[in-house]
Symmetry: C2
Subunit: 705 residues, 2 copies
């Protein structure tokens, strides 16, 4: 199956310029602007900015780098008559102030034109930094700043990246090399990449990062590592980024010498209080703890018969005096619980609503299973009115084909965020839980599991940079639009040329659905290969725990397939609002995309399309393959718009994706075909090999585990 | 001990240009030449080169990249009246040919001026490629090509890099990140870095590479991996680089289903023959096998009571029909052998002289122990007149401070190569074994254990690029001069400015001796920390095997220290020529640098310097510390000559080195001081902590193991 695509190798054998674009600059390319409008050339000529701190220096430097890139000139920093004035609102002369700037909060900014000058104002230096990045993006996109201008205030308070990076620099579910954190050289060597990382995040408004795996190692809490963590926090601080640490629940035993980690034990509580105090001595603005407990082998309060709230509150009490928070993950499930895994987090957490300290936020994955190509939103959203909930999206593509599969994830994020929960009636979208407006939380957050590694372009696939970017944009504004995000990213990363932007935007916006088509259409889920989740594995069954198998989820037999989560089955559906129970419980109204998520159906079930289920499944797989092949053509046609390095790199990955889409289609249809006993419908290509062939494919050393 | 050097962190918090130099371009910077001489500008203007193959395309591209960098112009490729003619000797018009080109062999080249034209000629496309790189280096250095010109013919046939890279991308003894070979993406994605790697090697004349660890995994011989290896071989081929594979001796059992790997077993022999045939189907010009056997847990012929020759010959017979070779490592020793580890390889191999097939070359480390900061040359050199021996140098700094310690290794390599073995009388230098002239070998080779990883600058420390470079230059010509190599590298990598070149050259040339001073002066050896070898560990004793401890090597007690390898001790000395036995056996004539390697001496032993041994040891450690500190100053003074990225990166590492030199001095002197019972002499700083403190330092997740 895994045969070399020799065409791509041949292309690569043409030697290339070392100075070509390796993608390291991300969406901050600052490429030359051809035929700039006068205002663009002028606005960066004379800049006034006051203040003497590292963030101001960063702003100045950014203006220099950008101006150099756009126009091959450097800005002059002046005191009088600037073309661009960057100033805190309190410093702004009244002749230049605007009433629209009055409610910017601590991180918002306002960019506008007045009296022939361009103004960036904010209430904090970080607001100015965000505004500066935004102005530069507008210039690159050749947009004009109007008199009304741009007012931007983040709708979410904690916008955090979660790195699942281990101390040995492997990255759990990481597909772009290894961890960029070189713990061995820290704290003494601060690599330039750490600053470039902080800069890239600041350009999106990301304001927090947790640098170690949620499957945590207690060592990170020892002085040996705290010194290193401190050095990172120091490097990130001028960019407005707070550092969080993943806390292993059993740390008091592992590094504290205690015999228990019971959260109600006084010694344990004191240990955490002392440890927290120690951390704040290293990092005075330490953000707080991120915790995965009682899940997939991680220790937690369950070990002592305590609740998740009791566990979280112990840590919350420790960080409270210092202004810290606890992000407590809701990803709690156990193979010992006989109930549908889908229902377990809800069952565990809903009874605890209102029992968490006010500096705890519960971090909930977008869906109830685990970052599937498509999942209905997690039923916890809307179900805990007295407990702040934050969204956890996975940016890295654990179940989405890993490094080589282009899947622009903004449409997936948007689908979840804009889904109506109907909890308080129509208009109770998930985004309103996240921005706090539905239940009047002032404490809000969003987490993204990072896709960043040592690859020269940070994210493996050049297009996966767009997922980091999109996550940042949606964390700032969960109501953001995927199309706009894609278009901006393309323009900032490649070119403004319409002949390139339009087809690539279309390709990106369709790419997630394409992956769903060739992997898990119509609500099928969790049929990836065991453990590493690379490639198809619908045959995965048996072993350590049933909720880690494919057969648990697809329930295929001669009678049909799908997971019955209605009343006749696990009734996970009852965890949603009555409106959704009705819509999704009824075969006439449930969207096709969730069909087999909630229903077990016979192979000859008649779809609205007129096809029977089996044929509909097969058509979706074929469609995904066709789309993946088409992307190769689209990309090749656009060669002249892209530098050679990035063109070849992306082409090679798109070719792999097209090949692997076939692998998915063939393996899955052969497997389910055993049960359906039906032939492939016309228009669906015959598999290249037999089922045994696909079942025997064994990949070695798959990255990310 | 490991305290943050806050000054360097503060410096780093100044944000920097993303477009700045990250070192990826190595010594192929092709930076602008200010005030070029007319010939320089002219020579690249009109180039004639014939032929239509990938190597010719690579040459053309190199000329373009260089010309763009030097002069911001592109060369014109012409048929008539070129300023630069690049042509095979057989294609050269007689008016332009020179008799000096007549013996260039298959890889040599001749560059010269004639009739106002510059000519590069060779007998092969690879000779032309090497010549092109050389011409471009001369231009960057602003050297003029004379009428006589430059005739270069490699003195060694197989110039090979050995990567100790595992299939999971960790690198044994690698300190610059992880393996650049992304096996998971191979064969379908050929990363640009693979081509840039091949190009960099070709620019030095390296013509072979073994991409996997000598502690080998048999999986690399399975079709799943052979496809991947093939893709690398295809990528390297146009650069004149052959691919070798490390063969695990027990592969017939592990992947072949046999019950033995006995080299005299017919089935085993046939398995290897079949496997080899299969490999050649993937890679028609496959170089052959590199084998570590019967050493440090690796399987080998000893498991079956067979000799190293019997093991090697079996593989040699398998590759012979295809023109392949076997590089069989002499690094064979066992803790079960009661004799001094120093003597074991000699004892094992000398009796086998003449018993190896003619396509076997025995690969011998430069010294008999293991890549110590300084070792006397390996006594095998000169001792096997009927068996070709190749040199194995370690480029990666396993025992030399790892990533952060600047140690330019050319002087160390040169010291070994120019050492006289006296085997055939005076003038029997080790280099004559390596270039084949001493024993009339036509089969010659040199291997370097690579220091390359995923770090953006390839080698971690920017200055460690110079070790890759120096290895390549000495593999081409073992008689090369460290000073010239350093000077060229500095000019190609940084600048031609004398104010920079002179002090940096001095710093580089002294750096290896500096490291010896603060780590293991006066013949002290193998006193690094256990297992990872990072930092001092003179107290390491006990455990799995005594020949992996420090006490085995230093033998410190109240009576003195040192390893008695004279007649009164292990008599390893008898493995050297009688001249060296006399010179090194006599305390009056042995150079100080080897003193404690061969002699056990009392602490108050009177040195030629007038100092007693203890004081002399202490002064060496202090000297090393002083030199490391001085390097920080030298570098800071040269800031204006270096771009900001590389300046800060190197500064940070030099500061770490100065700090760790103190760590070495304090830990080692405290430890030996227990036995000497003597105070530190005046001029040697008191340790900052007590011995217990240093003994309790425990580093976690040290890279490279």
């Amino acid at each position: 199956m895994i045969r070399a695509l020799l065409t791509s190798i041949a292309l690569f054998c043409i030697p290339m310029l070392l100075s070509a674009n390796d993608g390291y600059k991300l969406w901050l390319q600052y490429y030359p602007i051809e035929n700039p409008q006068a205002w663009q050339e002028n606005v960066l000529k004379q800049v006034s900015i006051d203040g003497n701190n590292e963030t101001i220096t960063i702003i100045k430097n950014e203006l220099e780098v950008a101006s150099q890139g756009f126009f091959s000139t450097k800005p002059l920093f002046v005191k009088e008559n600037p073309s661009l004035l960057i100033a805190l609102r309190e410093q702004l002369p009244s002749s230049l102030s605007q009433s629209a700037s009055k409610d910017l909060g601590t991180e918002g900014y306002h960019i506008y034109s007045k009296n022939g000058q361009t103004v960036i104002t904010a209430n904090s230096k970080f607001g100015l930094l965000y505004g500066t990045f935004r102005l530069l993006q507008e210039i690159q996109k050749q947009e004009i700043i109007s008199e009304t201008g741009i007012v931007e205030i983040p709708k979410v308070k904690h916008r955090v990246l979660n790195h699942w990076d281990n101390l040995n620099r492997t990255v759990e579910r990481g597909y772009s090399g290894f961890s960029i954190w070189n713990w061995h050289r820290l704290p003494r060597h601060i690599d330039q990449q750490y600053l470039d990382y902080a800069r890239a995040n600041a350009s999106l408004g990301i304001n927090g990062t947790s640098v170690t795996n949620v499957n945590a190692n207690a060592l990170v809490l020892t002085p040996y590592y705290l010194e290193k963590v401190q050095a990172l926090a120091d490097a990130f601080r001028p960019y407005g980024i707070k550092l969080y640490i993943t806390a292993r629940f059993s740390s008091p035993m592992e590094i504290g010498g205690l015999e228990t980690a019971d959260p109600l034990n006084k010694e344990v509580q004191d240990w955490w209080k002392d440890k927290t105090k120690e951390i704040y001595e290293y990092i005075p603005d330490f953000g707080g703890f991120l915790v995965k407990a009682d899940s997939e082998g991680q220790p937690g309060p369950h070990n002592y018969g305590r609740t998740q709230a009791e566990g979280a509150n112990m840590l919350a009490d420790a960080v409270k005096p210092f202004g810290g928070i606890v992000m407590w993950r809701a990803f709690v499930y156990s193979e010992k619980t006989p109930d549908d895994r889908h229902k377990q987090a809800y069952n565990e957490f809903v009874p605890l609503d209102g029992k968490f300290r006010d500096n705890v936020i519960v971090q909930v994955k977008n869906g109830a299973i685990d970052f599937q190509p498509r999942e209905p939103f997690h039923p916890l959203f809307g179900a805990m009115p007295k407990t702040p909930l934050m969204m956890e999206f996975q940016i890295t593509q654990e179940y989405l084909g890993h490094d080589t599969h282009l899947a622009f994830l903004a449409p997936m994020y948007e689908e979840v965020l804009k889904q109506d929960t109907y909890i308080n009636g129509k208009g109770s979208e998930v985004a309103k839980v996240i921005d706090g407006s539905l239940h009047d939380y002032s404490f809000t957050g969003m987490a993204g599991v990072a896709n960043i590694g040592t690859d020269r372009n940070w994210t493996g696939h050049h297009f996966h940079q767009a997922n980091w970017y999109a996550y940042g944009k949606l964390a700032w504004n969960p109501w953001g639009n995927s199309g706009e995000i894609a278009e901006d990213w393309i323009k900032l990363t490649f070119t403004n040329q319409k002949e390139f932007v339009d087809p690539i935007k279309k390709m990106m916006l369709n790419s997630h659905e394409m992956v769903v088509n060739y992997m898990t259409p119509l609500g099928i889920h969790h049929i990836m290969a065991r453990s590493h989740h690379y490639g198809p594995g619908p045959w995965v069954t048996g072993g350590e725990r049933s909720d880690w198998t494919s057969t648990y989820y697809h329930n295929a037999s001669e009678s049909g397939m799908g997971f019955d989560r209605t009343q006749t089955g696990s009734n996970a559906l009852e965890q949603y609002s009555t409106q959704l129970q009705e819509e999704w419980g009824d075969l006439n109204s449930i969207p096709n995309k969730y069909l087999l998520w909630f229903h077990h159906l016979p192979w000859d079930y008649q779809m609205n399309s007129g096809n029977i289920l089996w044929d509909e499944i097969a058509f979706h797989y074929q469609k995904g393959v066709n789309e993946a092949r088409e992307n190769v053509k689209i990309w090749k046609d656009l060669q002249k718009h892209v530098d050679r390095f990035r063109f070849e790199h992306v082409l090679s990955f798109l070719e792999i994706q097209a090949e692997e889409a076939e692998w998915w289609r063939d393996a899955v249809l052969l497997y389910f075909g055993q049960y359906s006993g039906l032939p492939l419908p016309e228009g669906v290509e015959a598999p290249k090999h037999d089922l045994e062939y696909y079942m025997n494919i064994e990949h070695k050393f798959v990255p990310g585990i």
